[in-house]
Symmetry: C2
Subunit: 211 residues, 2 copies
Protein backbone atom coordinates (compact mmCIF):
# COMPACT_ATOMS: atom_id res chain seq x y z
CA UNK A 1 0.00 0.00 0.00
CA UNK A 2 1.24 3.48 -0.86
CA UNK A 3 2.39 5.53 2.15
CA UNK A 4 0.27 8.66 2.55
CA UNK A 5 0.97 12.12 3.83
CA UNK A 6 -0.91 13.15 7.00
CA UNK A 7 -3.79 10.87 6.06
CA UNK A 8 -4.48 12.45 2.66
CA UNK A 9 -5.38 10.20 -0.26
CA UNK A 10 -6.26 12.59 -3.11
CA UNK A 11 -4.49 15.58 -4.65
CA UNK A 12 -6.77 18.11 -2.95
CA UNK A 13 -6.38 16.27 0.35
CA UNK A 14 -2.62 16.26 -0.10
CA UNK A 15 -2.49 20.00 -0.79
CA UNK A 16 -4.56 20.75 2.32
CA UNK A 17 -2.30 18.50 4.42
CA UNK A 18 0.86 20.11 3.05
CA UNK A 19 -0.37 23.64 3.80
CA UNK A 20 -1.51 22.51 7.23
CA UNK A 21 1.94 21.10 7.98
CA UNK A 22 3.53 24.44 7.13
CA UNK A 23 1.19 26.20 9.56
CA UNK A 24 1.69 23.56 12.27
CA UNK A 25 5.48 23.85 11.94
CA UNK A 26 5.38 27.61 12.24
CA UNK A 27 3.27 27.29 15.40
CA UNK A 28 5.29 24.63 17.23
CA UNK A 29 8.79 24.82 15.74
CA UNK A 30 10.34 26.34 18.85
CA UNK A 31 8.59 23.90 21.19
CA UNK A 32 9.78 20.82 19.30
CA UNK A 33 13.38 21.83 18.61
CA UNK A 34 14.88 19.30 21.02
CA UNK A 35 12.97 16.33 19.58
CA UNK A 36 14.28 13.76 17.10
CA UNK A 37 12.94 13.91 13.53
CA UNK A 38 10.55 11.01 14.23
CA UNK A 39 9.30 12.51 17.51
CA UNK A 40 8.78 15.88 15.82
CA UNK A 41 6.83 14.23 13.04
CA UNK A 42 4.53 12.53 15.56
CA UNK A 43 3.87 15.77 17.47
CA UNK A 44 3.23 17.64 14.21
CA UNK A 45 0.62 15.10 13.22
CA UNK A 46 -1.10 15.35 16.60
CA UNK A 47 -1.31 19.15 16.31
CA UNK A 48 -2.46 18.84 12.69
CA UNK A 49 -5.24 16.45 13.77
CA UNK A 50 -6.49 18.55 16.67
CA UNK A 51 -5.71 22.09 15.44
CA UNK A 52 -4.54 22.60 18.99
CA UNK A 53 -0.90 23.71 19.40
CA UNK A 54 -1.08 23.03 23.15
CA UNK A 55 -0.44 19.38 22.30
CA UNK A 56 3.16 20.33 21.50
CA UNK A 57 3.53 21.32 25.17
CA UNK A 58 1.83 18.33 26.73
CA UNK A 59 2.86 15.42 24.48
CA UNK A 60 5.73 13.49 26.10
CA UNK A 61 7.49 10.35 24.90
CA UNK A 62 9.90 8.08 26.72
CA UNK A 63 13.32 7.89 25.01
CA UNK A 64 12.63 4.37 23.77
CA UNK A 65 9.08 4.99 22.53
CA UNK A 66 9.89 5.59 18.85
CA UNK A 67 12.43 2.74 18.75
CA UNK A 68 10.18 0.15 20.38
CA UNK A 69 7.02 1.37 18.69
CA UNK A 70 8.59 1.32 15.23
CA UNK A 71 10.13 -2.08 15.85
CA UNK A 72 6.72 -3.55 16.69
CA UNK A 73 4.89 -1.83 13.86
CA UNK A 74 7.57 -2.76 11.30
CA UNK A 75 7.24 -6.39 12.36
CA UNK A 76 3.49 -6.17 11.84
CA UNK A 77 2.73 -6.93 15.49
CA UNK A 78 -0.82 -6.44 16.76
CA UNK A 79 -2.22 -3.05 17.63
CA UNK A 80 -4.82 -3.00 20.43
CA UNK A 81 -7.19 -0.06 20.88
CA UNK A 82 -9.40 0.69 23.86
CA UNK A 83 -12.47 1.71 21.85
CA UNK A 84 -13.86 1.21 18.35
CA UNK A 85 -13.41 4.86 17.38
CA UNK A 86 -9.64 4.55 17.70
CA UNK A 87 -9.64 1.33 15.69
CA UNK A 88 -11.72 3.00 12.96
CA UNK A 89 -9.06 5.67 12.55
CA UNK A 90 -6.22 3.21 11.89
CA UNK A 91 -6.80 2.28 8.28
CA UNK A 92 -3.45 1.69 6.66
CA UNK A 93 -1.84 -0.97 8.82
CA UNK A 94 -0.88 -4.29 7.31
CA UNK A 95 -0.99 -6.11 10.69
CA UNK A 96 -4.07 -6.68 12.85
CA UNK A 97 -5.82 -3.88 14.70
CA UNK A 98 -7.81 -5.33 17.59
CA UNK A 99 -10.46 -3.97 19.92
CA UNK A 100 -12.45 -6.08 22.36
CA UNK A 101 -14.82 -3.43 23.76
CA UNK A 102 -17.85 -5.06 22.10
CA UNK A 103 -16.63 -8.65 22.47
CA UNK A 104 -19.04 -10.98 24.27
CA UNK A 105 -16.37 -11.99 26.80
CA UNK A 106 -15.83 -8.31 27.64
CA UNK A 107 -19.51 -7.66 28.15
CA UNK A 108 -19.76 -10.74 30.37
CA UNK A 109 -16.68 -9.78 32.40
CA UNK A 110 -17.85 -6.17 32.90
CA UNK A 111 -21.29 -7.45 33.86
CA UNK A 112 -19.92 -9.82 36.51
CA UNK A 113 -17.39 -7.46 38.07
CA UNK A 114 -17.13 -3.80 38.96
CA UNK A 115 -14.67 -2.96 36.17
CA UNK A 116 -15.48 -0.77 33.18
CA UNK A 117 -16.02 -2.28 29.75
CA UNK A 118 -12.77 -0.66 28.55
CA UNK A 119 -10.73 -2.30 31.35
CA UNK A 120 -12.43 -5.65 30.86
CA UNK A 121 -11.56 -5.45 27.15
CA UNK A 122 -7.84 -5.24 28.02
CA UNK A 123 -8.09 -8.41 30.14
CA UNK A 124 -9.80 -10.19 27.28
CA UNK A 125 -7.08 -9.03 24.84
CA UNK A 126 -4.36 -10.42 27.12
CA UNK A 127 -6.22 -13.71 27.49
CA UNK A 128 -6.37 -13.93 23.69
CA UNK A 129 -2.56 -13.70 23.52
CA UNK A 130 -2.13 -10.07 22.51
CA UNK A 131 1.45 -8.98 21.72
CA UNK A 132 2.17 -5.49 20.35
CA UNK A 133 1.37 -1.80 20.69
CA UNK A 134 -1.51 -0.62 22.91
CA UNK A 135 -3.36 2.56 21.97
CA UNK A 136 -5.61 4.09 24.64
CA UNK A 137 -7.52 7.14 23.41
CA UNK A 138 -10.37 7.26 25.84
CA UNK A 139 -10.45 5.27 29.06
CA UNK A 140 -8.11 5.79 32.02
CA UNK A 141 -9.40 2.50 33.45
CA UNK A 142 -8.04 0.67 30.39
CA UNK A 143 -4.64 2.29 30.85
CA UNK A 144 -4.49 1.30 34.54
CA UNK A 145 -5.36 -2.25 33.54
CA UNK A 146 -2.53 -2.37 30.96
CA UNK A 147 0.01 -1.14 33.51
CA UNK A 148 -1.14 -3.69 36.06
CA UNK A 149 -1.03 -6.58 33.60
CA UNK A 150 2.45 -5.63 32.34
CA UNK A 151 3.66 -5.36 35.94
CA UNK A 152 2.41 -8.85 36.74
CA UNK A 153 3.86 -10.24 33.52
CA UNK A 154 0.45 -11.17 32.13
CA UNK A 155 0.53 -9.05 28.97
CA UNK A 156 3.10 -8.57 26.19
CA UNK A 157 3.34 -4.87 25.40
CA UNK A 158 5.93 -3.30 23.07
CA UNK A 159 4.81 0.27 23.66
CA UNK A 160 1.79 2.20 24.89
CA UNK A 161 0.20 5.29 23.41
CA UNK A 162 -1.64 6.43 26.53
CA UNK A 163 -3.74 9.50 25.85
CA UNK A 164 -7.03 8.99 27.71
CA UNK A 165 -9.06 12.15 28.08
CA UNK A 166 -11.13 13.56 30.89
CA UNK A 167 -11.28 15.45 34.14
CA UNK A 168 -11.56 12.33 36.31
CA UNK A 169 -8.59 9.98 36.46
CA UNK A 170 -7.07 10.59 33.04
CA UNK A 171 -4.15 12.79 34.16
CA UNK A 172 -3.33 10.45 37.05
CA UNK A 173 -3.26 7.38 34.82
CA UNK A 174 -0.89 9.07 32.38
CA UNK A 175 1.39 10.28 35.17
CA UNK A 176 1.56 6.70 36.43
CA UNK A 177 2.45 5.44 32.94
CA UNK A 178 5.31 7.96 32.82
CA UNK A 179 6.63 6.38 36.03
CA UNK A 180 6.82 2.90 34.51
CA UNK A 181 9.53 1.42 32.28
CA UNK A 182 6.98 0.75 29.50
CA UNK A 183 7.93 2.62 26.30
CA UNK A 184 5.21 5.27 26.09
CA UNK A 185 3.70 8.40 24.63
CA UNK A 186 1.36 10.44 26.84
CA UNK A 187 -0.40 13.80 26.89
CA UNK A 188 0.05 15.33 30.33
CA UNK A 189 -3.06 16.66 32.08
CA UNK A 190 -6.75 16.01 31.29
CA UNK A 191 -6.50 16.53 27.51
CA UNK A 192 -6.02 13.76 24.95
CA UNK A 193 -8.53 11.64 23.09
CA UNK A 194 -9.16 9.53 20.06
CA UNK A 195 -7.75 11.91 17.39
CA UNK A 196 -4.52 12.22 19.39
CA UNK A 197 -4.27 8.43 19.74
CA UNK A 198 -4.98 7.89 16.06
CA UNK A 199 -2.53 10.60 14.96
CA UNK A 200 0.26 9.06 17.06
CA UNK A 201 -0.16 5.47 15.87
CA UNK A 202 -0.77 6.48 12.23
CA UNK A 203 2.36 8.59 12.35
CA UNK A 204 4.39 5.60 13.62
CA UNK A 205 2.92 3.40 10.88
CA UNK A 206 3.75 6.01 8.26
CA UNK A 207 7.33 6.43 9.51
CA UNK A 208 7.82 2.65 9.39
CA UNK A 209 6.65 2.58 5.75
CA UNK A 210 9.07 5.32 4.76
CA UNK A 211 12.10 3.70 6.40
Amino acid sequence: MKPTFMGASTKQGYDIAARSREIVRSLIDEKTKDLTAEEKSIVERIVHSTADPEYADITCMSNDFVLRGLEAVSQGKDILTDISMVKAGINRYTGDVKCYINHEKTIELAGNTEVTRAAAAIEVAASEGFDGVVVIGNAPTALWKVMKMVETGSMNVSAVIGVPVGFVGAAESKKALEGTSIPHLVTQGPKGGTPVAVAAINSLINISKNQ
Copy 2:
Protein backbone atom coordinates in the same frame (compact mmCIF):
# COMPACT_ATOMS: atom_id res chain seq x y z
CA MET B 1 -32.26 0.14 24.74
CA LYS B 2 -31.55 1.80 28.09
CA PRO B 3 -30.53 5.45 27.85
CA THR B 4 -27.02 5.97 29.18
CA PHE B 5 -25.33 8.81 30.96
CA MET B 6 -22.42 10.50 29.09
CA GLY B 7 -21.62 7.21 27.35
CA ALA B 8 -21.09 5.17 30.52
CA SER B 9 -22.36 1.59 30.65
CA THR B 10 -21.09 0.20 33.99
CA LYS B 11 -21.32 1.44 37.57
CA GLN B 12 -17.67 2.56 37.63
CA GLY B 13 -18.11 4.24 34.26
CA TYR B 14 -21.24 5.97 35.53
CA ASP B 15 -19.48 7.25 38.65
CA ILE B 16 -16.62 8.67 36.58
CA ALA B 17 -19.08 10.34 34.20
CA ALA B 18 -21.08 11.83 37.09
CA ARG B 19 -17.98 13.32 38.73
CA SER B 20 -16.80 14.60 35.38
CA ARG B 21 -20.11 16.35 34.79
CA GLU B 22 -19.79 18.16 38.12
CA ILE B 23 -16.34 19.40 37.13
CA VAL B 24 -17.46 20.36 33.63
CA ARG B 25 -20.42 22.31 35.03
CA SER B 26 -18.21 24.20 37.46
CA LEU B 27 -15.89 25.14 34.59
CA ILE B 28 -18.46 26.30 32.06
CA ASP B 29 -21.54 27.25 34.08
CA GLU B 30 -21.12 30.97 33.49
CA LYS B 31 -20.43 30.55 29.79
CA THR B 32 -23.55 28.46 29.17
CA LYS B 33 -26.05 30.40 31.30
CA ASP B 34 -27.98 31.75 28.30
CA LEU B 35 -28.46 28.35 26.66
CA THR B 36 -31.56 26.15 26.83
CA ALA B 37 -31.36 22.97 28.94
CA GLU B 38 -30.83 20.86 25.80
CA GLU B 39 -28.15 23.16 24.37
CA LYS B 40 -26.36 23.21 27.73
CA SER B 41 -26.43 19.44 27.89
CA ILE B 42 -24.85 19.21 24.41
CA VAL B 43 -22.08 21.67 25.26
CA GLU B 44 -21.40 19.86 28.56
CA ARG B 45 -20.96 16.59 26.76
CA ILE B 46 -18.56 18.17 24.24
CA VAL B 47 -16.42 19.58 27.06
CA HIS B 48 -16.62 16.26 28.93
CA SER B 49 -15.41 14.41 25.82
CA THR B 50 -12.50 16.74 25.04
CA ALA B 51 -11.52 17.91 28.54
CA ASP B 52 -11.26 21.29 26.88
CA PRO B 53 -13.46 24.06 28.34
CA GLU B 54 -12.68 26.28 25.34
CA TYR B 55 -15.39 24.37 23.50
CA ALA B 56 -17.97 26.20 25.64
CA ASP B 57 -16.76 29.43 24.02
CA ILE B 58 -16.61 28.24 20.44
CA THR B 59 -19.61 25.90 20.14
CA CYS B 60 -22.52 27.71 18.46
CA MET B 61 -25.94 26.40 17.50
CA SER B 62 -28.62 27.95 15.34
CA ASN B 63 -31.88 28.53 17.21
CA ASP B 64 -33.57 25.68 15.37
CA PHE B 65 -30.73 23.14 15.71
CA VAL B 66 -32.04 21.27 18.76
CA LEU B 67 -35.62 21.29 17.50
CA ARG B 68 -34.80 20.03 14.00
CA GLY B 69 -32.08 17.67 15.15
CA LEU B 70 -34.27 16.08 17.82
CA GLU B 71 -37.18 15.80 15.41
CA ALA B 72 -35.04 13.85 12.92
CA VAL B 73 -33.39 11.64 15.53
CA SER B 74 -36.71 10.89 17.27
CA GLN B 75 -38.14 9.79 13.92
CA GLY B 76 -35.15 7.48 13.43
CA LYS B 77 -34.02 9.31 10.28
CA ASP B 78 -30.58 8.49 8.86
CA ILE B 79 -27.39 9.87 10.31
CA LEU B 80 -24.56 10.46 7.82
CA THR B 81 -20.95 10.82 8.99
CA ASP B 82 -17.99 12.05 6.96
CA ILE B 83 -15.51 9.44 8.21
CA SER B 84 -15.61 5.98 9.80
CA MET B 85 -14.24 7.22 13.14
CA VAL B 86 -17.33 9.35 13.69
CA LYS B 87 -19.61 6.47 12.73
CA ALA B 88 -17.76 4.18 15.17
CA GLY B 89 -18.54 6.54 18.03
CA ILE B 90 -22.32 6.51 17.47
CA ASN B 91 -23.30 3.23 19.05
CA ARG B 92 -26.72 3.64 20.57
CA TYR B 93 -28.87 4.81 17.69
CA THR B 94 -31.83 2.76 16.60
CA GLY B 95 -31.84 4.24 13.08
CA ASP B 96 -29.15 3.84 10.41
CA VAL B 97 -25.74 5.47 10.71
CA LYS B 98 -24.18 5.75 7.27
CA CYS B 99 -20.71 6.58 6.00
CA TYR B 100 -19.64 6.25 2.38
CA ILE B 101 -15.94 7.15 2.71
CA ASN B 102 -14.83 3.59 1.87
CA HIS B 103 -17.67 2.88 -0.57
CA GLU B 104 -16.53 1.76 -4.04
CA LYS B 105 -18.53 4.53 -5.74
CA THR B 106 -16.76 7.10 -3.56
CA ILE B 107 -13.32 5.75 -4.40
CA GLU B 108 -14.20 5.77 -8.09
CA LEU B 109 -15.61 9.32 -7.95
CA ALA B 110 -12.59 10.69 -6.04
CA GLY B 111 -10.27 8.89 -8.46
CA ASN B 112 -11.94 10.40 -11.53
CA THR B 113 -12.28 13.96 -10.23
CA GLU B 114 -10.26 16.38 -8.16
CA VAL B 115 -12.52 16.16 -5.09
CA THR B 116 -11.48 14.62 -1.78
CA ARG B 117 -12.80 11.22 -0.75
CA ALA B 118 -14.82 12.90 2.03
CA ALA B 119 -16.58 15.23 -0.42
CA ALA B 120 -17.17 12.43 -2.91
CA ALA B 121 -18.75 10.39 -0.10
CA ILE B 122 -21.36 13.13 0.44
CA GLU B 123 -22.32 13.03 -3.25
CA VAL B 124 -22.68 9.27 -3.05
CA ALA B 125 -24.86 9.57 0.07
CA ALA B 126 -27.17 12.02 -1.70
CA SER B 127 -27.38 9.76 -4.75
CA GLU B 128 -28.38 6.91 -2.43
CA GLY B 129 -31.33 8.97 -1.17
CA PHE B 130 -29.99 10.15 2.18
CA ASP B 131 -32.45 12.04 4.41
CA GLY B 132 -31.50 13.07 7.94
CA VAL B 133 -28.76 14.57 10.12
CA VAL B 134 -25.25 15.10 8.72
CA VAL B 135 -22.30 14.87 11.11
CA ILE B 136 -18.97 16.23 9.83
CA GLY B 137 -16.11 15.71 12.29
CA ASN B 138 -13.13 15.92 10.03
CA ALA B 139 -13.31 17.22 6.49
CA PRO B 140 -14.13 20.84 5.50
CA THR B 141 -14.48 19.61 1.91
CA ALA B 142 -17.37 17.38 2.99
CA LEU B 143 -19.08 20.29 4.72
CA TRP B 144 -18.76 22.51 1.64
CA LYS B 145 -20.26 19.72 -0.43
CA VAL B 146 -23.26 19.39 1.92
CA MET B 147 -23.94 23.14 1.77
CA LYS B 148 -23.73 23.14 -2.02
CA MET B 149 -26.04 20.16 -2.39
CA VAL B 150 -28.62 21.59 0.01
CA GLU B 151 -28.49 24.92 -1.86
CA THR B 152 -29.19 23.20 -5.17
CA GLY B 153 -31.94 21.09 -3.64
CA SER B 154 -30.11 17.83 -4.28
CA MET B 155 -29.84 16.61 -0.68
CA ASN B 156 -32.37 16.27 2.16
CA VAL B 157 -30.76 17.54 5.35
CA SER B 158 -32.60 18.03 8.67
CA ALA B 159 -29.60 19.47 10.52
CA VAL B 160 -25.81 19.57 10.26
CA ILE B 161 -23.27 19.07 13.02
CA GLY B 162 -20.37 20.77 11.27
CA VAL B 163 -17.20 20.57 13.33
CA PRO B 164 -14.37 19.85 10.89
CA VAL B 165 -10.94 20.45 12.34
CA GLY B 166 -7.76 21.95 10.95
CA PHE B 167 -5.79 25.04 10.09
CA VAL B 168 -6.69 24.96 6.40
CA GLY B 169 -10.28 25.61 5.40
CA ALA B 170 -12.08 24.30 8.49
CA ALA B 171 -12.89 27.69 10.06
CA GLU B 172 -14.05 29.10 6.72
CA SER B 173 -16.36 26.15 6.05
CA LYS B 174 -17.97 26.50 9.48
CA LYS B 175 -18.41 30.26 9.08
CA ALA B 176 -20.14 29.60 5.77
CA LEU B 177 -22.47 27.07 7.43
CA GLU B 178 -23.40 29.69 10.03
CA GLY B 179 -24.46 31.95 7.14
CA THR B 180 -26.92 29.40 5.74
CA SER B 181 -30.46 28.63 6.88
CA ILE B 182 -29.55 24.98 7.57
CA PRO B 183 -30.13 24.09 11.26
CA HIS B 184 -26.57 23.69 12.54
CA LEU B 185 -24.05 23.26 15.32
CA VAL B 186 -20.49 24.47 14.68
CA THR B 187 -17.26 25.08 16.56
CA GLN B 188 -15.89 28.44 15.49
CA GLY B 189 -12.22 28.58 14.44
CA PRO B 190 -9.84 25.73 13.55
CA LYS B 191 -10.75 23.43 16.46
CA GLY B 192 -13.29 20.63 16.33
CA GLY B 193 -12.94 16.99 15.40
CA THR B 194 -14.38 13.54 15.76
CA PRO B 195 -14.93 13.53 19.57
CA VAL B 196 -16.80 16.83 19.31
CA ALA B 197 -18.96 15.48 16.48
CA VAL B 198 -19.66 12.26 18.34
CA ALA B 199 -20.44 14.06 21.61
CA ALA B 200 -22.93 16.35 19.87
CA ILE B 201 -24.86 13.64 18.03
CA ASN B 202 -24.80 11.20 20.97
CA SER B 203 -26.12 13.97 23.20
CA LEU B 204 -29.01 14.59 20.78
CA ILE B 205 -29.76 10.86 20.66
CA ASN B 206 -29.70 10.67 24.45
CA ILE B 207 -32.00 13.69 24.86
CA SER B 208 -34.46 12.13 22.40
CA LYS B 209 -34.55 8.89 24.46
CA ASN B 210 -35.23 10.78 27.67
CA GLN B 211 -38.08 12.83 26.24
